[in-house]
């Protein structure tokens, strides 16, 4: 094997036809093996995680040159570093000499990185700059550019840092396309932008990453039915009972025209937001000077003040809840395990007491110990455990909610938009997953192509 190994697909027991049969967008069927099969998981690393834009953090995580954090693109460890020119570099956290992890901590500030195995040293841009005994020991010399770690493409969208290994992939802006409109409800309420509250909480859930990604993409149903009843109860004043709380019923769900992204939200009914974030944040979101500013900026009173308990996933693993402002990357760790990396953002110009309230309420509700999130972990690991069964995997799961419903053009909201309790966004996520898993390159995968094809089919 030379250093120029052709980047070909991992050998797999799955044929293209086999992979295509796993998801039926039209019929609303999901083959449970997508959550359990080792070979499918390996293929996901190559065809999804090595080709998609992956969320790594927020610009405010790295305020100064030399500030760095370690993260992951799929299972590949990366170092994310703020440069002297304010740009951000993301490179594979692997010394090319013997494959050692270059940076072994979670973050900090550095002038250089030195591999702790043999001392190969890298600058903060990830360039190999020093090889000990280079002259004496490498008689033929060593090309330090060639033996530097792999660099990823980096781009940001309104504070969020994403990276992508694939040179051919569309730009981040095109990748997000019509999802930006919905991301802005959280990211673009003020000219001051957002900032992250320090600290990333990490924990493991023994379940496939797609359960988590799909739920944030498409599942308001679990919140409006039984999953989070006790979370709601935990936020009620002592004198109130569950029967006194009003679970909303009005809202919309969005499926991106391209890319597998999805979101949903209630409109005009604050019950759920109130249960999750309490009265102070609810007031801030719906009825404050900052909310007025957001309405002006977004050009819509409804979008700024009346959209509540919004859930959203940017394919594959970037999920967040606008208004609640928790953000997380679902780091895949084998077909049967996910590592959650969760943090919270706030409007940079929010009053200090509001920032503090966001911090306390999101860690009370959406964290490993969160009174809402605790129950999500419970559901997903039970499903994963059931899917060890042969019969349990032998028949498709049902993703038919909302099929045959109205997804006509909505003058205010772009994309395919339907009723809030829906699985249209889940079908969109899995349809995109299927395309990523089966289509070899961006000539067919690119968003423009998909839009053209959609137009031709009409």
């Amino acid at each position: 094997m030379s250093s120029n190994r052709k980047a070909d697909y991992i050998h797999t027991s799955w044929s293209v036809e086999g992979l295509e049969s796993l998801i039926d967008d039209e019929g609303g069927f999901i083959d449970p093996r997508i959550y359990t099969d080792e070979n499918i998981y390996e293929l996901e690393q190559e065809r999804i995680f090595a080709r998609s834009w992956i969320l790594l953090g927020h610009e405010s995580h790295l305020p100064n040159p030399g500030d760095y954090m370690t993260s992951y693109i799929g299972e590949d460890p990366v170092v994310v570093v703020r440069q002297k020119d304010r740009s951000i570099k993301v490179f594979l956290n692997q010394c090319r000499h013997r494959g050692m992890r270059i940076c072994r901590v979670d973050g900090g500030n550095a002038k250089a990185f030195t591999c702790t195995y043999h001392g190969w040293a890298y600058d903060i841009g990830g360039n190999l700059v020093n090889v000990p005994y280079e002259k004496e020991a490498f008689a033929k010399g060593i090309n330090k550019t060639e033996w530097s770690p792999l660099q990823a493409r980096v781009d940001t969208y309104k504070g969020l840092i994403y990276a992508n290994w694939d040179e051919e992939a569309p730009s981040l802006k095109n990748y997000l396309s019509d999802a930006c409109f919905y991301m802005d409800h959280m990211l673009d309420r003020t000219a001051a932008g957002t900032e992250a509250i320090g600290g990333i909480q990490k924990w493991i859930i023994p379940c496939n990453w797609k359960f988590a990604a799909e739920q944030f993409c498409s599942d308001m149903y679990h919140a409006g039915t039984v999953s989070h009843l006790s979370g709601i109860l935990a936020g009620l004043p002592p004198e109130m009972e569950l029967s006194d709380s009003e679970i909303p019923t009005k809202g919309l769900q969005f499926r991106a025209e391209w890319g597998g992204h999805g979101t949903g939200f209630y409109i005009g009914e604050p019950g759920m937001l109130l249960a999750i974030m309490g009265p102070k944040v609810t007031e801030y979101w719906t009825n404050s000077a900052n909310a007025d500013k957001a309405a002006e900026r977004l050009g819509s009173d409804e979008r700024a003040k009346a959209l509540m308990a919004q859930h959203m996933t940017i394919f594959p693993t970037c999920s967040f809840l606008p208004g609640i402002n928790t953000i997380r990357t679902w780091q895949p760790r084998g077909p049967n395990e996910t590592e959650v990396w969760a943090w919270t953002i706030v409007d940079a110009d929010a009053p200090d007491d509001i920032k503090e309230e966001y911090r306390r309420q999101t860690l009370r509700t959406f964290s490993a110990g969160g009174v809402f999130e605790q129950d999500d972990g419970e559901n997903w690991c039970e499903i994963q455990s059931v899917l060890r069964g042969y019969k349990a995997k032998s028949r498709p799961l049902n993703a038919q909610m909302g099929m045959g419903g109205d997804f006509g053009k909505n003058s205010e909201y772009p994309g395919r938009v339907g009723y809030v309790y829906n699985e249209e966004a889940a079908r969109g996520m899995y349809a995109h997953w299927r395309r990523m898993m089966t289509e070899p390159d961006w000539r067919t995968l690119a968003p423009k192509q998909s839009l053209k094809r959609a137009a031709a089919n009409k």
Partner: protein, 179 residues
């Protein structure tokens, strides 16, 4: 506290009192008697578990997230009341069916001023959790408490608790239990 400290009988009695208090607290939690546990909390309590990170030595001061940063827990009295409501609810799926827990408390070091009704107490814990068919979690760590002396009936109230968990990535699907 210095190594050369001369202990008086009162110190030994206090140590015994604090130990018995913690054993009683552990029993409340392990018996799922959360209402009794709530009764030993002071209304001004801060129940705080910062996140622990991996840092190089020269930046070891950054190991724990700070007061105004994200944490595993940062609860007020009212937030804990809500947690207990969830723990006792029929619809609290993460603890229904309930976890089997065992809190083992040790290494108790008391720091106090005789003139004050406040004690600063450091203790270590092993918290074993077994859940559903075969889930096992083992948490170890240290608790730094501020205890207030109240009356004879209930010797102390927990005014503040900071928990340092010996994990960076929490190796569990949730933290649905109390430390």
């Amino acid at each position: 506290m210095t190594h050369s400290k001369k202990y008086k009988m009162a110190d030994i009695i206090l140590q015994h009192e604090v130990e018995q208090f913690y054993y009683m607290e552990a029993q409340f939690l392990d018996n799922r008697d959360f209402s009794s546990w709530f009764d030993i909390l002071d209304e001004e309590i801060r129940y705080f578990m910062p996140i622990r990170t991996n840092r190089i030595q020269r930046e070891s001061s950054m190991e724990y997230t700070k007061d105004n940063e994200f944490a595993h827990f940062d609860d007020t009295y009212e937030m804990i009341r809500g947690r207990i409501r969830k723990l006792q609810a029929d619809v609290g799926w993460s603890e229904n069916p309930a976890s089997r827990t065992r809190h083992l408390i040790a290494n108790i070091i008391i720091d106090f001023d005789e003139k004050s009704d406040r004690l600063d107490v450091s203790s270590c814990f092993i918290l074993y959790r077994n859940r559903l068919e075969r889930q096992v979690d083992i948490f170890s760590g240290r608790r730094q408490d501020e205890l207030l002396r109240v009356d004879r009936k209930m010797p102390f109230k927990i005014r503040n608790r900071t928990i340092h968990l010996d994990q960076s990535t929490v190796l569990s699907n949730n933290l649905s239990i109390l430390f």
